[in-house]
Symmetry: C2
């Protein structure tokens, strides 16, 4: 080993270096920042009621139970939880998830079917990376989840969009579109969809699974909200109906804490090898300590009790926003009535551009997300998404009152 200089020299400020567009990969350079993140800036201004975010209610976070879980993990598994872990994730947590999904019926899953990811956004990215190449098609509904478009866009894909009605994606219309575009994946949020709050019916789910088999196109069943049902009867998940044909994304973000970034992919063993190698190249493995903490938290029925607390509170908020909309919105405005989840969807008269209403709404101190960004084809100008999980009932009432005033003035 060479001997180094004995004292640290004083360094002159280095000359500047200019990065040009040509330094970057075009796919990364052209990624757009999420409109959500831009609008969320307004959410924190004093007096503003935000119906824009997709955040869980922070006052419901199980802070004390997480503290106890941290404590138990550090006492029992301190050195393991702070050490490097497996790319697939912490075994006992994967066991627990597999068992829970198996109990829902139809499929028999083990830890070998589960990959732990850093939130469902990483699940989407890993699925995109595993399957998608430039100019491939992804089939999705119109509208669909913005974060999925953002994850898949990097891979240079195009979208084959399917209309929705109040029963979810119009699955009966997809054959000619599959035959024309040969999509690599069918992407869907079947439960309380983000952004519309609509749930796909059992008939459509069965039909979708059938068509996925017929055309040999895997389904991505993105299911962050499935546990949060406030009314109506549960519907079996597409994963439980479709088995190996279905790659399901699940997450603890909406039922425990999004800040811990623990989610999972449940899929056929045939796909797990590729997913795990992708995960390894991407970030080695998910935060080990957070996996242990979540595993500790879910024990002894604690998760189920916490979900009941969330459902009670979000149920009230959903009812409050729906009541306020009936009271304050003009007749020409239509909206969905979700049976669960965090969002509902507004349709304004065809000629209205929701994005153009946003500056006036900000002046009225209420914010929403214009619906266009949830449309892969740029349509949907007259739509908007509202969130009802974060603001308490009174704020929902007041926020809808403000929006109603604005609608009445401009429509």
């Amino acid at each position: 080993m060479a001997t180094m200089n004995e004292t640290m020299p004083t360094l002159a400020p280095p000359a500047p270096f200019e990065f040009k567009e040509s330094h970057f990969s075009p796919a990364a350079y052209n990624l757009e920042s999420s409109i959500l993140r831009d609008i969320l800036k307004y959410s924190n201004q004093p007096g503003v009621i935000s119906l824009a975010g997709g955040l869980p209610a922070p006052e419901l976070f199980p802070v004390e139970a997480i503290r106890e879980a941290c404590d138990r993990v550090l006492t029992r598994h301190g050195t393991q939880a702070l050490q490097y872990g497996l790319s697939a994730g912490y075994g006992p947590l994967r066991d627990w998830i597999a068992e829970r999904l198996t109990k829902q019926g139809g499929v028999h899953l083990t830890a070998d079917n589960i990959l732990i990811t850093a939130g469902s956004q990483q699940g989407l990215d890993i699925v995109g990376r595993a399957f998608l190449c430039k100019d491939d098609y992804v089939m999705c509904s119109r509208p669909t989840y913005l974060g999925a478009l953002q994850a898949f866009n990097y891979y240079g894909v195009k979208y084959a969009c399917i209309e929705m009605d109040e029963q979810g994606m119009k699955v009966e219309t997809i054959d000619p579109i599959v035959e024309k575009y040969h999509p690599k994946l069918i992407y869907t949020v079947p439960n309380f969809q983000n952004p519309t709050g609509i749930t796909m019916t059992l008939e459509r789910r069965r039909m979708l699974v059938e068509k996925a088999r017929k055309y040999s196109v895997p389904i991505v069943d993105d299911n962050p909200y499935g546990e949060l049902r406030y009314s109506g009867a549960p519907v079996p998940s597409i994963k439980n109906l479709g088995g190996q044909a279905v790659i399901q994304l699940g997450t603890f973000s909406k039922i425990v804490s999004p800040g811990l970034r623990i989610a999972w992919i449940a899929a056929s063993r045939q796909t797990m090898g590729v997913f795990t190698r992708v995960k390894q190249a991407t970030d080695l493995h998910t935060n080990n300590f957070a996996q242990y903490v979540i595993h500790e938290f879910v024990q002894d029925g604690r998760l189920e009790r916490h979900i009941e607390v969330l459902k009670r509170s979000y149920h009230e908020r959903r009812d409050a926003i729906l009541r306020a909309m009936s009271e304050f919105f003009p007749d020409t405005v239509k909206w969905t009535k979700p049976e669960g989840g965090l969002f509902l969807w507004i349709k304004l008269p065809e000629h209205v551009d929701a994005a153009k209403l946003l500056p006036q709404a900000i002046e009225e101190k209420v914010v929403f997300i214009p619906g266009q960004s949830f449309h892969a084809d740029g349509s949907g100008k007259n739509t908007m998404r509202l969130n009802f999980s974060q603001p308490p009932c009174e704020s929902l009432h007041e926020g809808i009152k403000r929006l109603g005033r604005l609608f009445s003035a401009v429509l």
Copy 2:
């Protein structure tokens, strides 16, 4: 909203679905699993001494201090730490990192120059995604860090390899290679390199920065081990010498805990927009709770004191392994004498294939990593990497004794 079926139907087991190679993206399908992960299987077998891993010593993890940090974070910032966070990372942690790098001289950094990543492996992936396209060249030393090759390989790149000597990458030889291959990035681990343990001299660092400017090729200064120096005088970092021309990757994995997966990219503001959008599409943001916990842990000089503890212990281990090698290795075996870090590098006589010795080593209950996988061009058959941070001194002594016995038998 349609009314759903009133009770959950009993589900029949779904028909199988076969994934074929054509379902997958070739870039993902052809990713190789890290040889390290395969060899590490042997490390946990009873009686095996592993010189193969790159793990910090688990008995040195600051478990109690992490427990206190968790506790304080949940008391003071519970709801914020468990909520969604910014894609760039937790502001106060980014401030702290920027200030610490600024104190090292040369550069003035702020939080706007720092992106928090889920470990340095994700830093490598984000850099790869931001800059690299299929058939681009990356310049790196031969050998170089395996995880970087794994991250960059997905992007379909080729490598322009530069020889190393005991002063690091032979920077004086790169001009014709840059002119021929026009690399998009120059990748280097200048401090106690993984795998060789070699540190690049100040003269070479200055020269590398000059050439990066001359050819307008950014340098990736991957610096996980810089804080772990046991002897010799410190050398200014390439980031501090090169400023905006340099993208530095730093991490808490080796100085606090790898299981928490908190690392950072320090770079020019011009690059931060692209990095942040890539991060957002990839996984929204890094585990928020872990960022708060690390930020709490590093306060009041706690990190500096902990680094001193690590250095004392690793210093002893480095001296123990070097002593054992002098005692037990035949004259025909050469090795590096690192001034810090976790690794050293062995050169066997030219005709020996280290990978072929591995099965015999496993029988002798000692494992190492054959050096070939650290060579982007498949050379380096007669080399191997040894780790000295994980096993205690007695195990290092015994492990080297076993390897020495094997070498004496076959060389």
